[in-house]
Amino acid sequence: MHEEIIVAGFGGQGVIMAGKLLCLAAMKEGKHVSHIPSYGAEMRGGTANCSVVISDNPIGSPVVPHPTIVVAMNGPSMRKFEPRLKKGGLLLYNSSLIDFKPERDDIEVIAIKANDIAEDEGSKMAANMAAIGRLQAVKPELVSLDNIIDALKIAVSKRNQKHNEVNIKVLKRANSITA
């Protein structure tokens, strides 16, 4: 198993944290993981993203130019990263905020109404959890849902631990979607 993932959205959607959560969960399973945020002169209202690698083998570059999985939380992210996906890769996009369709026909595409699900369960801030929950269902070999839930204890700051109840509800709900 070797997946190179980009989680992207606008600042505040929790994309960096979502990437960390995947790493912390996969670590528990003894997998090799790396996480690197994009940093630099990002445009306001533009995209924030992180590269995550989860692998059975030692990781070379932590930077992911051509991902096998893209999680796009907003329109600009999908525009930026859909073309970079490897052939046969997975594009999981937030159809609550993205009102256009992906263009490529050589990739697997999954839409999730991440904001709607999160809001419905009590917090629109948890849209990132909806995306991760759904990703786990589509790629169960990546990491188990139990370990993702367990990793919330470390991934979420002390100040925000109180939101974990909602986070878990959103993770589970998105995870149980059958499409």
Binding site: K20, C23, V33, S34, H35, I36, Y39, G60, S61, V63
Partner: protein
């Protein structure tokens, strides 16, 4: 596995320095290493240490100079253009035979360049960016674990030889998070009878930077420094070999470039191509003899760097057979591409 934690390379350096007993850290901010000062600002007061954000890079290195002269374990960190500004202080510290640790998370240059990772300051680190016949011991880690382990070791080496030790990383290593285990303190304790501690009940110590009489003072002092450097060259060379026993094609790379080269080697081996990695962990002292021995069995030696050809000069000094040498580098914040390394090595087979 259970005691592994996930941290950025920069943060791991900070925690490792505290584990090593560093209680004085002075710096001026610059991306991509800002998590080091941020971490030290938070952590040092908790352990009774001093964090000070200096007014400039030059001020920061001179604060390290002062703390070190007083016998303390002191550190500063910066990134490429900031390290350029510290060179005067580094030369003075080397001349004064004082220990300290300097972290350089290299970024794209020249000038202010950009803030992505780079390895274009190999010359600056290994050839001395400051004036005079001096050396800095340079360690080049390739993972968050190694960044942490080598930071602890750097303080011991600095104290043992009374020399500045540089941890040479890059923006990618500093920014990336990886699981690692916190290093243990080495437990080594170095006596510093030369330290300026107030001269109560003893003759004053003097730490000098200037020796105006060349014949009997400055040359003699330089010869003494060289003796220390020879000792370091004899005892402190570090490198890693990966699949070199039967390697026909040797890739030489350090830091982030070595990680990418390793991935390429894994792919090449699947095709039955006998490639291996020689990874210097100390860039000065450089593992010349060890690389020479490995290269004698090889058909080709490919150096991979995030620069347009700096370490390759040391590889040439080691191998002494230019026909065997090839080079692949990306610069300006770009990473070498695994596929390109594979393509190059494949082409050697004809």
């Amino acid at each position: 596995m259970s005691d592994q934690i996930l941290m950025k390379g920069n943060e791991a350096v900070g925690e490792a320095a505290i584990i090593a007993g560093c209680r004085y850290y002075f710096a001026y901010p610059i991306t991509p290493q800002n998590e080091i000062p941020a971490y030290m600002a938070k952590r040092l007061p908790e352990v009774g240490g001093t964090f000070l954000q200096a007014e400039s890079e030059l001020a920061a290195i001179n604060m390290v100079f002062g703390a070190s002269a007083a016998g303390a374990r002191a550190m500063t960190s910066s990134s490429s253009p900031g390290i350029s500004l510290k060179q005067e202080g580094i030369s003075y510290i080397a001349g004064a035979e004082l220990p300290c640790v300097i972290v350089d998370m290299m970024r794209g240059g020249p000038g202010l360049g950009n803030i992505a990772g780079s390895q274009a300051d190999y010359f600056q680190a290994t050839r001395g960016g400051g004036n005079g016949d001096y050396r800095v011991l340079v360690i080049a880690p390739a993972s968050v674990q190694e960044l942490a382990d080598m930071t602890v070791k750097a303080f011991d080496l600095a104290d043992q030889y009374s020399i500045p030790v540089m941890i040479l990383g890059d923006g990618f290593l500093g920014q990336m998070s990886e699981p690692f285990t916190l290093p243990k303190p080495s437990g080594k304790n170095f006596k510093k009878p030369w330290a300026l501690t107030g001269a109560k009940g003893r003759k004053p110590n003097i730490i000098a930077s200037m020796r105006l009489t060349p014949e009997d003072l400055l040359e003699k002092h330089n010869l003494k420094l060289q003796k220390t450097y020879q000792e370091i060259e004899a005892n402190e060379v570090m490198y890693e070999s990966y699949l070199l026993d039967d390697a026909e094609y040797v890739i030489v790379a350090y830091g982030t470039s070595a990680r990418i080269s390793r991935s390429a080697i894994t792919e090449l081996r699947k095709e039955g191509i006998k490639a291996g990695l020689f990874r210097p962990l100390t860039l000065w002292p450089y593992p010349y003899k060890e690389l020479k021995a490995v290269s004698e069995r090889a058909k080709k030696v490919l150096t991979v760097e995030m620069s347009l050809g700096q370490m390759v000069e040391d590889v040439r000094l080691a191998v002494q057979d230019d026909a065997k040498i090839d080079f692949y580098g990306r610069t300006g914040g770009m990473l070498p591409v695994s596929e390109e390394i594979i393509r190059k090595v494949r082409s050697y087979g004809g």
